[in-house]
């Protein structure tokens, strides 16, 4: 469609009435539209395919049509309809009013609490996207919208890559494509299938939120793009001293040059943002200067020989970084059961080096009183649980980056575990079977309920029994 032949407001395309034009960019026009019998607020995106328009908008639009159709869930706008490229190209999807992360950035400096809230929402959304075999590759604040309940919605899939679909971008461009401020080092080397490229962009966004400043600026030349292969950004705490060390650790972990040194999944970032006290602080957390000249020169030299290993198959990559929840009830468990569970965790870690283990104990909530004595008692109980879990895990000798410990307060153990698993993208729950007891027959066991209702894998561990005669 020629740029001067854009459809008029009030006209109708395939049964969709154009209500108002809400955005006109260089590549596409967006209208609010309605359709008889459809309650959901809708928008229609129409590409500008006229003479002189960049071919990127043509290919990008095809890519977006192709990928949107395959996506679902709360973290993307719901796909509604598409029009054929040869006749009237368009894309109809759910209207997300926003605000966008870009709007937030423009308003005022974000508090640490807000950064955590937005960052976690975005990491949750990204993980969901990656689970659907899609790498976005153009993540930036303008492409992140929020629903009224705070859920992040990722938009604009014009440069995205779907692991199971032909890559049309790769076909048409020889140069790296993306937004210069957010593009990852491997994208500069024309690698388009690594989900950790999105984690890099997330790191840039977190940096920008924390420092009101872009870590690599907004380069325009290829050599400017390449600079992030060897120059590391000024550490956030050197710019904004109120940034806590754990947040700097998370941000710089996302911004590692080599993708294998970054977080293995967005779910791990979401978890760390939600549990800042448990972030393992490394040298990254305390850095106050960029690397020295010698290091930079070494990196610069190496950057010319940087070869990227073949792409990980997306779903395989994610399944090599599972989040495993181990539900422990140490005071009431049989020693042999605890040992059997430990053995299972040992095997899980051996199988997937990028896995994360969270050990959880659920205790009844302490009755809140103002009396110091009661609170102290509760605290000490909490601490005892942690000590017991650490003691249980000690023979595994796992680093604190892999294993975390949690005490959940709840009346219903099964519900607490299920809720934790849902919120933190848990892939597998390991839980012990309770031995037969009269109580279990009456109340039903926690493991039975967890196994029945969890939306992930559940392994119920039994104590090895001697064979009965």
């Amino acid at each position: 469609m020629q740029a001067d032949q854009l459809p008029q407001v009030g006209s109708e395309i395939d049964g969709f009435r154009l209500l108002e034009k809400i955005h006109e960019g260089g590549m596409a026009v967006i209208y609010r539209v309605s359709k008889a019998g459809v309650e959901l607020p809708l928008i229609m995106k129409i590409p500008k395919l006229g003479f002189g328009n960049h071919p990127a908008c043509y290919v990008g639009f095809e890519v977006e049509q192709m990928i949107m159709e395959k996506l679902s869930g709360p973290h993307v706008p719901m796909f509604f309809a598409k029009g054929d490229m040869a006749e009237q190209p368009y894309l109809v999807m759910e209207y997300i009013a926003g605000p966008s992360l870009h709007d937030y950035l423009e308003r005022s400096a974000a508090s640490i609490g807000q950064i955590v809230q937005w960052g976690k929402a975005l990491a949750d959304a990204l993980h969901d996207l990656h689970r659907q075999n899609v790498v976005h590759l153009d993540l930036k604040p303008a492409n992140v919208l929020f629903r009224p309940d705070g859920t992040a919605v990722i938009i604009d899939f014009g440069l995205a890559h779907h692991a199971h679909l032909p890559d049309l971008i790769e076909e048409d461009f020889h140069k790296p494509v993306g937004t210069s401020a957010y593009i990852s080092p491997e994208q500069i080397l024309s690698i388009r299938c690594d989900p950790r490229s999105d984690l890099f962009a997330l790191g840039v966004i977190l940096y920008q939120l924390a420092c009101s400043h872009l870590p690599f600026g907004n380069p325009v030349s290829i050599s400017g793009f390449r600079r992030r292969l060897y120059l590391d950004p000024t550490p956030p705490r050197a710019i904004n001293p109120t940034v806590p060390p754990w947040l700097q650790e998370i941000i710089l972990h996302c911004l590692e040059v080599r993708s294998e040194n970054r977080y293995a999944s967005a779910a791990q970032i979401a978890f760390d943002l939600a549990h800042s006290a448990q972030v393992t602080l490394t040298a990254r957390a305390f850095r106050l200067k960029s690397a020295g000249l010698l290091t930079i020169m070494q990196r610069w030299y190496r950057s010319w020989f940087a070869t990227v290993k073949s792409c990980p198959e997306l779903s395989q990559h994610l399944s090599s970084a599972p989040h495993i929840l181990v539900a422990l009830d140490i005071p009431r468990a049989d020693e042999r059961l605890l040992q059997a569970m430990r053995e299972l965790v040992r095997r899980a870690v051996a199988a997937d080096a990028h896995c994360r283990i969270t050990c959880c104990t659920v205790e009844a909530p302490s009755i809140l009183t103002e009396e110091d004595q009661t609170r102290e008692l509760a605290n000490s109980l909490h601490t005892q649980h942690l000590i017991a879990m650490r003691h249980w895990a000690q023979p595994l000798s796992l680093s604190s980056e892999i294993i975390r410990f949690h005490v959940l307060e709840a009346n219903n153990t099964a519900d607490a575990l299920l809720n934790f698993a849902r919120t933190h993208h848990v892939d597998q729950i390991i839980i012990g079977a309770r031995g037969s007891s009269a109580l279990r027959r009456i109340l039903g066991s926690v493991s039975t309920k967890v196994a029945a209702e969890a939306r992930c894998n559940v392994t119920v561990v039994h104590v090895p029994q001697a064979q009965e005669n």
Binding site: H164, L165, E171
Partner: protein, 249 residues
Amino acid sequence: MKLAIFSDIHSNLEALQACLLHAQSQSVTQFAFVGDLVGYGADPVACLEIVVDLLQQGAFAVQGNHDAAAVSGLCETMEINARESIYWTRAQLGQAERQLLQNLPLFKQHEDMYFVHACAETPEQWTYITGPRQAGRCMQATQARLIFSGHIHQPTLYYKTQSGRAYPQVFYPTPGVALPLLTSRQWLAIVGSAGQPRDGNPAASYAICDRTLNTLTYFRVPYDHAKTAQKILAAGLPPRLAQRLERGY
């Protein structure tokens, strides 16, 4: 309307039956065979019977190099196992079967689709499409938007724009995923072999083109390859032809 495309059945009755059953479960109503119905396997006559039935119902079929060799000519340039199986096949075929194979066209065009066993540029030379260069030559030889071929026993998809790069891009499809065949591009779909897969996966390979939704889906269908292998050995065909079915090489 759904069209199932089969290639390189190679007298493998079990694989053909399994694929047809699968296609039926996918509500396929039209069929295309892009060559090499016979050769290698022990059931040329039974396979041709099925194909004849479908041809009478409007299926498309083109000739493959093994089909041509089974009817006439010297096959001295063929690999030793292939040659032996061709001699064996010749002895099995009756007049009617020979006639059928003889009369198959080298290519067939229907609407925006082009069916050919090997390369569309010179179908009679049976050129292997082993990479983007050959694929580019094949795609340039026809105006058809969708080209379906076989010959190399590996499911592969090539695609290009008219104005884009000289060579098309290559894509290895994931079975069961519907791929949109964008109208702005030309597509060359090598559907893989139903009767003798060689990509390390012994399951039979074929593809379904949904003409209404304009998508292409590759499928892998497991079948009783042990039974096929037994028949090959029992027929006195080279043992290697039986062994390779087990691991798909």
